[in-house]
């Protein structure tokens, strides 16, 4: 029994959250829905760990859905990269679900809460599906599942602006998904296959054709829209700012990461590094992301709403990941994959703190956060430590990412890139310090309501992520090990 069950883990990983989502609708009980979401998230985390162990022990896992042989049937493929990204998604999901009830109950009307958990489970399933599938079209299906449900999640935000933010995201997200599927369609036209491994074998023969280069362009722009690539990131700041707090934390830590994963998958597994010789898309990405890391960090400095401030910071941070991709080197990709994990820990922690702040004072504007250091000491200490990680102070994960990114730039002899990365992290000091000064140096207004620290069920998940920021900043064995193994696999060309 156990043998057969462990052989089906890849399918269970997606099916479990997918079938649990309708269960929440059937129960129509808020508490029960939360419990289902919580249990499913933690089970998925367990499965991710098991899968990662299997991959480390025995190499990539190929799972044929319904036992239909690839490339005709849908193949699920778990390798180092996808196992690592699933670990990111499920760990952030599990931690946010512990945090969720208080925050969700205070921000979302009571009659919609079970729908929130339904949509969360669908997003969760979609993200895991994107990560695990080995089929380019199936990836589109999961992309749509996760996108449609995340539009709903964002629109659940308390302010009316959440609706326009969600609508804007819906328009641009749909354009992105359509571009992606056009690209996949063109590839199918030239190769007659949708299986990624199969595509990788057939594409080199037609790689120089205009159709394939156009396909690459479509896919890049399509996924670029989803991952918040500058300058098609415009949906992101509002979506993050107006979504319910827990949603922001979950999406910021997972959705853009999975989109970056997709880009890595398409570029390095499907197309292979040779495609950059035919179409210098790496240079194109490099220039865009250099503009992103400097300009978006600069824009973040002038934000008044801390959620939006961190949203701009996210666009800049995604820029770091894309710079790593544009290096097309093992060190560069290691930096990218590492930062997927590290940035998830950083932003997850920061947005959970903001959720806690919103839970107490119903605002995340800088001026309203004045003096919170005294009344919410543990939350604010978490904010400071996670912020250090964002800046890249040594002994935090942010430092580890930056180390590899700069090392990658120096290996290439890209001095200006190294310089711009450092300048961007100095800008991060400025925007982060603005918040710190408000929290610790300003005093709370006399007429402000008396508030207390948030309950322990919110502090524990927050500090779990902060702890991860520090633990994985000191003991880098797991993260660097997995990231460099995945990078070597991608650059080696082996699918």
């Amino acid at each position: 029994m156990s043998v057969s069950l462990s052989a089906h883990l890849p399918a269970i990983q997606v099916v479990l959250p997918l079938i649990s989502a309708p269960l929440c609708v059937l129960f129509r009980r808020n508490g029960a829905s939360w419990l289902i979401a919580l249990i499913v998230s933690w089970l998925s985390l367990g499965i991710s760990i098991l899968l990662l162990e299997q991959v480390i022990a025995n190499g990539p896992i190929s799972y044929l859905l319904g036992s239909w042989a690839a490339p005709w049937g849908i193949e699920y493929k778990v390798d180092m990269l996808s196992a690592f990204v699933m670990l990111i998604v499920t760990s952030v999901g599990s931690i946010s679900m512990i945090f969720a009830p208080n925050s969700v109950n205070s921000e979302i009307p009571g009659d919609r809460i079970y729908l929130f958990y339904t949509m969360y489970l669908l997003t969760f399933a979609g993200l895991l599906g994107i990560t695990i599938t080995g089929d380019a079209f199936n990836l589109f299906v999961f992309l749509e599942i996760s996108s449609l449900s995340s539009y709903v999640l964002i629109s659940l935000g308390a302010e009316r602006n959440a609706l326009t933010a969600a609508f804007r995201y819906l328009i641009l997200g749909t354009v992105g998904a359509t571009f992606y599927i056009i690209g996949v369609g063109l590839m199918y036209q030239m190769t007659g296959t949708l299986n990624m491994t199969d595509l990788a074998m057939r594409l080199p023969a037609v790689a120089e054709t205009r159709t394939i280069l156009v396909a690459l362009g479509f896919v890049t722009v399509g996924i670029g829209l989803k991952l918040g690539l500058f300058p098609v990131h415009v949906w992101l700041p509002n979506a993050y700012a107006y979504a319910p707090s827990v949603v922001t934390a979950f999406l910021a830590a997972t959705a853009t990461k999975v989109a970056v994963y997709t880009l890595l998958r398409i570029y390095f597994t499907v197309f292979g590094t040779k495609i950059f010789a035919a179409l210098p898309i790496d240079e194109f990405l490099l220039i865009l992301s250099l503009i992103a890391i400097v300009s978006m960090s600069a824009v973040a400095i002038f934000q008044n709403n801390v959620k939006r401030l961190l949203a701009y910071s996210s666009v800049a941070q995604v820029g770091y990941m894309i710079i790593g991709i544009s290096m097309v080197s093992v060190t560069g990709l290691t930096a990218t994959i590492l930062h997927l994990f590290n940035h998830a820990m950083i932003k997850g922690a920061l947005f959970l703190v903001l959720a806690a702040v919103f839970f107490r004072i119903k605002s995340v504007k800088i001026e309203h956060m004045a003096g919170l250091g005294k009344v919410m000491p543990y939350s604010m200490a978490a904010f400071v430590l996670a912020g250090f990680s964002l800046i890249g102070v040594p002994l935090t994960v942010g430092f580890v990412s930056k180390w590899y990114l700069i090392l990658g730039a120096l290996e290439k002899g890209w001095w200006p890139v190294a310089g711009l990365v450092l300048i961007s992290s100095l800008l991060a000091v400025i925007y982060f310090w603005k918040v710190i000064e408000a929290i610790y140096f300003k005093t709370r207004p006399q007429d402000a309501a008396i508030i207390h620290e948030v309950p322990i069920t919110m502090l524990v998940p927050m500090w779990l992520l902060v702890g991860a920021n520090i633990y994985f900043g000191i003991n880098t064995e797991l993260s660097v090990g997995a990231a460099s193994a995945a990078a070597k696999m991608l650059i080696g060309g082996a699918p």
Binding site: I391, P394, L410, L422, V429, W433
Partner: protein
């Protein structure tokens, strides 16, 4: 216990102590007792290493591997030994002083103050004992961050503004330049270990050496080379014990210590001497010495005058190391210790005057020597050390720096030392003269009726003043350590 254990405990004790300080926050007497005990135990742990290090041992302990092939390692060598001894030894005296000062001035948030102080000391000794550049960088950054709450202790708008300057300059130089230099070094050599003779020889050449040296020298903002010195006067907004131990000893010495360490163990001074494009450092340091002294002359605020004097004295160390003669490198090492004892005394005196008389300006100090003979006596002795008058520690280090400069016939450096000695005398002697020989002119001053500062303050400043003289007569240990740094 083995030497390796002493290293770990020297860093762990202040960290454990800091937790104790937090727990005892409600009971000031217990809290201060914990601080004192922590300081004494820490000094004992550091001191226990002397025997091994002087005997030629280089005890080393590796904690963990951060990146493949790159560890957090602590290794004690002579230079770090000396810096560790100075920082931890003066912490004991400074803790006694702090008790008098913080209570005498009714400062708020004293628990936070002692807590971050203990962490600052742990990171300073971490810098001293760092076995490779990455470990040093980590401790260096922690030192910056944990001293920020000390600089902005009062929480007033001006403290906040100074805090921004402090953090802004120190973080932007270390992240923007030093980190780049470190990763470059790692990329070029595949190691960041401190090795006698350096690690860069044969790995970089030509103009790149000069650029790398620039990145290091201006990346080490704590050494306050002009024009990145402004954070140091800004930091004077902190309570005086912070200025005394951190911004005259631990933090700034961590800066010049790192400079010497980089020149001796990363570049190797023979390698630098053979590179033609790196002699600019002597001139920049020489300029800083003179310019900072001239600015000091014009400061009326006592602490700011001392701060500019510190900037000038720090560049003595940088210039001495940059002359690249073995004797001057020894002088640089000695000056780290000599300036530390002298300058902490001067700050103690400044704080003592503030506590007893509530005076902060040089122009208010006429005749104060008669009311505060101990304070001003100590001030005078420490001033002599700054100028380099025997029998004080400052004479010793200046002597070696001059000998080194003469040996390689570096006339610019010799000229700078002579002129700056005159300038030092120019901004210290009038204070002493006015304090003892002029009549007090503050009859209408509300605090005119004052005596000496609280006893702990007087004890502390007397102790360091005596130390300044003792270091001249009993210079065996520092000399031996300095000898070992240059390999005789």
């Amino acid at each position: 216990m083995s030497a390796e254990n002493y290293i770990l405990w020297a860093i762990a004790v202040p960290l454990i102590g800091s937790i104790g300080i937090l727990l005892a926050g409600k009971a000031p007497n217990i809290r201060e007792t914990i601080t004192l005990i922590t300081a004494v135990v820490m000094f004992t742990m550091v001191g226990a290493l002397i025997h091994t290090v002087v005997g030629g041992g280089r005890p080393s302990v590796t904690l963990l591997e951060i990146f493949p092939g790159l560890d957090i390692t602590f290794t004690v060598e002579p230079l770090g030994m000396l810096f560790g001894l100075v920082a931890s030894g003066l912490w004991i005296v400074n803790s006694i002083y702090s008790i008098g000062y913080m209570r005498g001035n009714n400062e708020k948030n004293q628990t936070r103050f002692y807590f971050f102080f203990a962490i600052a000391l742990a990171s300073a000794v971490g810098v001293a004992f760092a076995g490779n550049m990455l470990t040093l960088f980590i401790c260096y950054e922690v030192l910056t961050l944990c001293t920020f709450p000390l600089v902005t202790h009062s929480g007033k708008p001006e403290a906040m503004k100074s805090g921004r300057t402090y953090l802004g300059i120190l973080l932007s130089t270390s992240i923007g330049l030093q980190l780049l230099a470190i990763i470059w070094t790692w990329h070029a050599t595949g190691t960041l270990d401190f090795k006698a003779g350096g690690i860069l020889d044969g790995k970089v050449s030509g103009i790149a050496v000069s650029i790398l040296l620039f990145l290091y020298m201006y990346g080490i903002g704590k050494a306050a080379l002009m024009p990145i010195h402004r954070w140091l006067p800004a930091a004077m907004v902190a309570p005086t014990p912070v200025s005394a131990l951190l911004h005259a000893v631990a933090v700034v010495k961590a800066g010049v210590f790192t400079v010497v360490k980089v020149i001796v163990y990363i570049f190797g001074y023979e390698f630098l001497a053979n590179s033609l494009t790196t002699n600019w450092l002597v001139y920049v340091a020489g300029f800083t010495i003179l310019a900072a002294s001239i600015v000091a002359l014009r400061q009326d605020n006592l602490k700011r005058r001392l701060a500019y004097s510190t900037i000038s004295q720090l560049s003595y160390v940088i210039m001495a190391a940059a002359i690249l003669a073995p004797l001057s490198v020894m002088g640089a090492v000695l000056h780290i210790a000599a300036h530390a004892v002298g300058k902490i005394t001067l700050f103690f005196a400044a704080g003592s005057i503030y506590t007893a008389a509530h005076k902060t300006e040089v122009s208010q100090l006429n005749g104060i020597g008669r009311k505060m003979p101990w304070t001003m006596g100590a001030f005078a002795i420490a001033s002599f050390s700054m100028i380099g008058v025997p029998p004080t520690a400052g004479f010793l280090s200046k002597w070696y720096i001059l000998m080194g400069a003469l040996e390689v016939e570096h006339y610019f450096a010799i000229g700078v030392i002579i002129i700056s000695t005159l300038l030092n005398a120019g901004y210290f002697m009038p204070i002493i003269y006015n304090a003892f020989f002029k009549e007090a002119d503050d009859k209408n001053y509300p605090h005119a009726d004052h005596g000496e500062a609280p006893l702990p303050v007087v004890i502390a400043l007397t102790a360091t003043a005596i130390g300044t003289v003792l270091l001249f007569f009993f210079s065996g240990l520092p000399l031996e350590l300095a000898h070992q740094v240059v390999g005789k």
